[in-house]
């Protein structure tokens, strides 16, 4: 027993010893779950390239913002921008501004399980809000058939599936409904979790995807990657210009391009229901939260170097992992922001 303990102790101590001799630059970050896959790819590639370790943990957007305010991480990440109040808190506690740097984009798609309707069901903002408000209850409702000529829609009840947990996906989805439907804005509102007027809850993207996949006549919303990976049909959505658009990398990037004109200086912007003929309406940025003036300048230099890399080579990894790359216009704005990080 005793010798076993001692052997274990020596083992652990030797590991610690090895560790300290190989001291490297290490940065810690935490936040949004949605970009975890591409961030883990980026940080893996980047550490092999530069030897700098960025440890990113997906604790959720809310957690990322909180840790950025508390200063327990070197950088944060979120799918929904920080509020003015949160930025003020961060400034008070950390003595520096927090910058929002968009990294990639994603889309939320409306998935449905209706074998008789086949692919490419069309939905308008009105109809979508009506369904999720519980006002449109049947698949053969006149409002749905009117925009889907030539499709045979059954006399079947619609089963609405939504997230039961708080999530950035819900945040983007309800932000959209909030913009396009007055009734929705009045009765439900937007946020990471809302009081759903209709439907069943599933936990996580996989929960909602599962509900839709298993129930005939179901409709739900998930991140694009989940719909593609699980092979579930998703609807074409009518955008602001009246065009029915499929969610693709191009149509998501187009939404960002459409939003550039009205891009605020701090890059905190919602791009749901964006302008442009090809824009997919339920798109969103995901941001890294960076301290403008870090105490540890060597860390600030590494972060700035990494961000510059992510805007160039980094973007090329996006499509394979089901994210949409930033359009050139946004990259330019980001680079300007990155230059404003104090590194000296």
């Amino acid at each position: 027993m005793k010798s076993l303990t001692i052997a274990l102790l020596i083992f652990v101590l030797s590991l610690v010893a090895v560790e300290t001799t190989l001291s490297q630059m290490k940065l810690n970050g935490a936040g949004a779950t949605f970009p975890y896959v591409i961030y883990s790819k980026w940080f893996d590639v980047y550490s092999q390239k530069s030897g700098v370790q960025f440890n990113y943990q997906s604790i959720g957007s809310g957690g990322g913002i909180k840790q950025t305010i508390e200063g327990t991480v070197d950088f944060g990440a979120t799918d929904g921008p920080m509020s003015d109040d949160q930025l003020k808190q961060a400034k008070e506690k950390q003595g520096t501004d927090v910058l929002h740097i968009p990294t990639v984009m994603g889309a939320v798609v409306v998935t449905y399980n209706l074998p008789s309707a086949g692919k490419d069901l069309r939905l308008s903002p009105d109809v979508l809000a009506g369904i999720f408000l519980g006002q449109i209850r049947k698949w053969n409702d006149a409002k749905i058939t009117a925009i889907n000529p030539g499709k045979s829609l059954p006399d079947q009840s619609i089963l609405v599936a939504h997230r039961s947990d708080g999530s950035g996906t819900t945040s983007i989805f309800t932000d959209y409904l909030n913009k396009v439907s007055k009734t929705w804005a009045l009765n439900v509102g937007k946020g990471t979790s809302v009081n759903w007027p209709a439907g069943l809850g599933g936990k996580g993207n996989e929960g909602v995807a599962g509900l839709v996949k298993q129930s005939d006549g179901a409709i739900g919303y998930v991140e694009l990657a989940y719909a593609v990976k699980n092979n579930i049909a998703y609807a074409l959505l009518q955008n602001r210009e009246g065009v029915f658009v499929e969610a693709t990398y191009e149509s998501v990037s187009a939404a960002a391009a459409g939003a550039i004109k009205n891009m605020p200086e701090d890059l905190r912007v919602s791009i749901t229901n964006a302008e442009g003929k090809n824009s997919y309406p339920i798109s969103g940025f995901t941001w890294l939260l960076i301290y403008k003036n870090m105490k540890d300048k060597s860390k600030a230099q590494e972060i700035s170097k990494f961000l510059t890399w992510s805007m160039g080579e980094g973007q090329s990894y996006a499509k394979d992992l089901f994210y949409a790359p930033l359009p050139q216009g946004v990259v330019k704005l980001c680079e300007k922001k990155i230059h404003s990080i104090v590194t000296q």
Binding site: E19, N28, T72, K229, F322
Partner: protein, 287 residues
């Protein structure tokens, strides 16, 4: 020799058989979930279970291979730290409660320990976050160890107490009658006799700590790189399972199952080792 009253005899005999079968059935039903979890985790994770899983570092989605070497070591370090913080307190408290525990203070401690065991683990994580992470301005393995240590306390304390209580009073009396001081009786007679039970308690505590995710999310955080520095975030199997199981990528899902299987197996093995170590000691004495 009297022949049994045959009717009565068979009635009793059949009652015995029925009850034995019922007991066996209950045992089976109790074991089936464990077996199901074990076999399901194995069947789902077998594709990712190979030498690489134990020796390689995690790879991002889309690259084949890669393992969880850092998470295996991380979990071991976290459990080690947790035991270091939690077990001495638990064992001493257990001894106190069993040997000197008939006063209002001890009753309060006992009650509070029971309350502690009912507190959700995520709350313990938040406590460790506020006590350790916020002042240090850093997520760390140390903070994770503190959280796990707190979680180990109730199980380990109450089992230690129960096991020491089971040591027959005649042992203590015999020793005291020989003029051995009380501390020595506790140390040399009571503790060794109860050792097997206490080890089981420690084991339960370790098993509980090893399977925890929630308290680690906001303390040890997690790490995709190799790190054994207790002042830095550290990887753990449970946090990897949590992250990988949610992802829409099959190779990550498979690795999550493999990690789940390894975790269950790991707990199973610790169980065996401790059984082996404490085997036959004071057999036939005590309980």
């Amino acid at each position: 020799m009297r022949m049994p009253n045959s009717k009565r005899y068979y009635w009793r005999k059949s009652k015995n058989i029925v009850m034995t079968v019922l007991c066996l059935l209950s045992v089976l039903i109790a074991v089936i979930p464990l077996f199901l979890i074990f076999s399901y985790a194995l069947s789902q994770g077998i594709g990712a279970l190979n030498l690489d899983f134990f020796t390689k570092m995690p790879k991002p989605v889309g690259e084949s291979g890669g393992g969880m070497a850092n998470a295996l070591v991380g979990t071991a370090i976290l459990i080690g730290l947790g035991s270091l913080f939690g077990l001495p307190i638990s064992i001493f408290t257990g001894i106190y409660l069993a040997e000197y525990g008939e006063n209002p203070f001890a009753k309060t401690v006992r009650f509070l320990t029971d309350v502690l065991s009912g507190i959700p683990s995520i709350v313990v994580g938040v406590v460790a976050y506020i006590m350790v992470v916020l002042p240090m301005k850093q997520f760390s393995a140390f903070a994770g160890g503190v959280a796990l240590g707190i979680l180990m306390i109730p199980t380990a304390t109450r089992t230690t107490e129960e096991m020491i209580r089971l040591v027959p009073h005649s042992f203590r009396e015999a020793a005291l009658a020989l003029g051995i001081p009380r501390w020595r009786v506790t140390l040399r007679i009571v503790l060794p006799t109860a050792l097997k039970g206490i080890t089981t308690g420690i084991l339960l505590a370790i098993a509980r700590a090893a399977g925890e995710t929630a308290p680690l999310l906001f303390t040890a955080l997690g790490n995709r790189f190799w790190s054994t520095d207790i002042g830095h975030p550290i990887a753990s199997l449970t946090v990897f399972i949590y992250d990988y199981a949610k992802a829409p990528f099959e190779d990550w899902n498979r690795q999550a199952w493999a990690a789940a299987f390894v975790l269950i197996f790991f707990i199973f093995i610790i169980n065996l080792i401790f059984r082996f170590v404490t085997r036959g000691r004071y057999a036939g004495n005590g309980h």
